[in-house]
């Protein structure tokens, strides 16, 4: 589970494994802080998420910028194309996203954080969070369509 989460947040397999290693060590170092044993999965998952954010903040100097988006931009191709794709393919597409978009899409779409919470976690504004999410979705669908055309 932890490695799967690491893969989603990482841009490569190598980075994912580094994040996973650090996360495992952190789990064992701070296991005594876990008060409710039944919540260990959620707790370990959170450790991976924040380790991934730290990893990219420190090593990649991840910087978030405000980007204005137009709501009128249309998506190319079939919007349901992702439903036909394999999980491994989707994972690879997510890894192709820029770091900032990948973080936001994971935190919002998969982890279920709100924009306000994402803004606090990443140290950005709510507007930046929203714009990056928008960009991430658009980019994700573009990649999916491109992948679909390759398989064609």
């Amino acid at each position: 589970m932890m490695l799967s989460v690491a893969h989603r947040y990482a841009s490569s397999k190598t980075d994912a494994e580094d994040i996973f290693q650090e996360s495992v060590l952190n789990v064992f170092d701070h296991l005594h802080q876990l008060r409710e044993v039944e919540k260990i999965y959620g707790w370990a998952k959170q450790i991976v998420v924040h380790e991934a954010i730290r990893f990219y903040k420190k090593k990649r100097n991840m910087v978030f910028t405000e980007e204005t988006q137009s709501e009128t931009v249309k998506y190319e191709g079939d919007s349901d194309i992702y439903k036909q794709m394999e999980l491994e393919q989707i994972l690879q597409i997510i890894q192709q996203l820029p770091d900032k978009m990948r973080m936001v899409i994971n935190l919002y779409a998969i982890e279920g954080y709100k924009h306000e919470e994402i803004a606090e976690i990443l140290g950005i504004s709510v507007g930046t969070s929203k714009s990056n999410l928008h960009d991430a979705r658009r980019q994700l669908k573009n990649f999916m369509n491109a992948e679909n055309r390759k398989l064609g």
Binding site: S4, Q21, L25, V27, S79, D80, L87, G112, R137, K141
Partner: protein, 444 residues
């Protein structure tokens, strides 16, 4: 609207796709993790400090034993001339009586002096007379020689004197059965002294008899002191706690330490002392601005040099946040020192040794201000109970005319072990004070 529905569907799809998804790590990845695991044992720094304290104790004890064995007091040496005279005049007669044996030998020794050259040849009677004579006059010299091999023990000698019904040393007149004037009255230049006075004068010098015996000294010690602590190795505390700015300022405070010590005199230059002392450490800590983030709803224990801070008491996970933290650390210890003292010239001394400290009370107070989340100051299980430290000092001893002895001089105490239970914050209290001591008993 359509776009929003599409977004929601995408989000839902991604969430459902990756929910429960697992990737099995390969063997190489686990091997890499195993290599990075360090065994959960006593942290190296703490182990090194304890090991250093134990090695230091062993060296100090070995040094003291060495000094005790190889530098004990030697008997006074005679000059060559005197030795030659003794050899020439020495004609020790064999006698079974221990007093006679002793007096015969003493006779030859004393014969080297001008006073007793005319003593006639030995006989039992003359030996007895000489014994009587010697008891009164030359005792100050003879008694020192009691320790040479063959001479009877003091108790045995007293017993023999009692058996022969010889008057005690309290009598100022030399003992003379025939009422003849004794040689002591003709030849003695100094008045006969009583045994009590003699023993009182015997140990005149640097190391005087103490309250218990001529080897032990008991003293009371008061040390006004400034104390503070060294602080380093403040690390990130928890996986879900990130400190961005941490600045701690230490302010030393004034305290008074006191206790009693018992010193054992090994020889003229070396003492070793131990005792029981109460020592205080008091210093202020001020965290000007601590900015942190919490990524979970867990409460986080943040150790500091003054105990633990319980962060996120509301368990909300508010972040980012900051706070100011001000504490007054007040610790009370029971110390058992083990110190060697080297006596230098002119009553100066140097001290060096180790100590064991037991934490009796932690009266630290803390104030938190300007905090964004609920923070609770919690001292529970934050500090070490057992500590080791070292003592270094110097000073001088002074004895007044009335016989009261004092000592005073600077003293530095340093804890070698970490004040905290956690290795994330390493804090070692130290103190610098003026040691003042007063000896029990009179020293003349």
């Amino acid at each position: 609207m359509k776009n929003e529905n599409g977004h929601n569907e995408l989000d839902k799809f991604l969430r459902e796709t990756f929910e429960g998804h697992t990737i099995e790590p390969n063997a190489e990845l686990w091997k890499g993790i195993e290599q990075r695991f360090a065994p959960k044992v006593v942290p190296l720094q703490k182990y090194s400090r304890l090991k250093l304290a134990l090695y230091g104790s062993a060296v100090v004890i070995a040094g003291l034993i060495f000094m005790l064995v190889f530098f004990r007091n030697e008997p006074p040496k005679q000059n060559d001339d005197f030795k030659n005279e003794l050899v020439e005049k020495s004609t020790i007669k064999e006698s079974t009586h221990p007093v006679e044996k002793a007096t015969e030998k003493h006779t030859e020794q004393i014969a080297a002096t001008s006073q007793l050259k005319s003593i006639p040849e030995k006989s039992v009677e003359s030996a007895q007379k000489r014994t009587d004579f010697f008891l009164v006059e030359i005792q100050p010299i003879v008694i020192d020689d009691f320790n040479f091999p063959g001479f009877p023990e003091k108790e045995e000698l007293r017993k023999l004197f009692h058996e022969k019904k010889i008057k005690t040393l309290k009598s100022s007149k030399p003992i003379n059965k025939n009422n003849k004037p004794s040689r002591a009255s003709k030849h003695s230049k100094s008045k006969p002294v009583s045994a009590k006075k003699y023993y009182a004068q015997k140990s005149k010098g640097k190391n005087q008899p103490g309250i218990f015996s001529d080897r032990f000294d008991l003293k009371a010690i008061v040390t006004p002191t400034f104390s503070s602590h060294t602080l380093n190795n403040v690390q990130n505390i928890a996986v879900d706690f990130d400190q961005k700015y941490f600045k701690e300022i230490e302010n030393p405070r004034f305290v008074v330490n006191f206790g009693v010590e018992l010193a054992y005199r090994i020889n003229q230059h070396l003492d070793i002392y131990s005792g029981a002392k109460i020592s205080n450490y008091s210093f202020g800590n001020h965290v000007d601005k601590n900015h942190y983030e919490i990524f979970s709803t867990n409460q986080v224990n943040v150790p500091s040099s003054a105990g633990n801070l319980l962060i996120n008491g509301d368990q909300i996970g508010e972040l980012p946040a900051q706070y100011k933290f001000k504490t007054h650390v007040k610790l009370l210890y029971f110390d058992i020192p083990l110190v060697a003292r080297n006596h230098l010239k002119r009553n100066f001394y140097l001290d060096a040794g180790l100590k064991y400290s037991y934490l009796l009370a932690d009266n630290t107070t803390g104030e938190i201000a300007d905090n964004d989340t609920k923070i609770k100051y919690d001292k529970i299980s934050g500090l070490q109970k057992n500590n080791f430290g070292m003592i270094v000092g110097a000073g001088m001893e002074h004895t007044t005319k009335s016989g009261i002895r004092f000592e005073f001089g600077p003293e530095v105490n340093l804890n070698l072990s970490n004040l905290n239970l956690t290795a994330n914050v390493i804090s070692r209290p130290f103190s610098f004070g003026l040691r003042t001591g007063i000896y029990f008993g009179r020293y003349n």
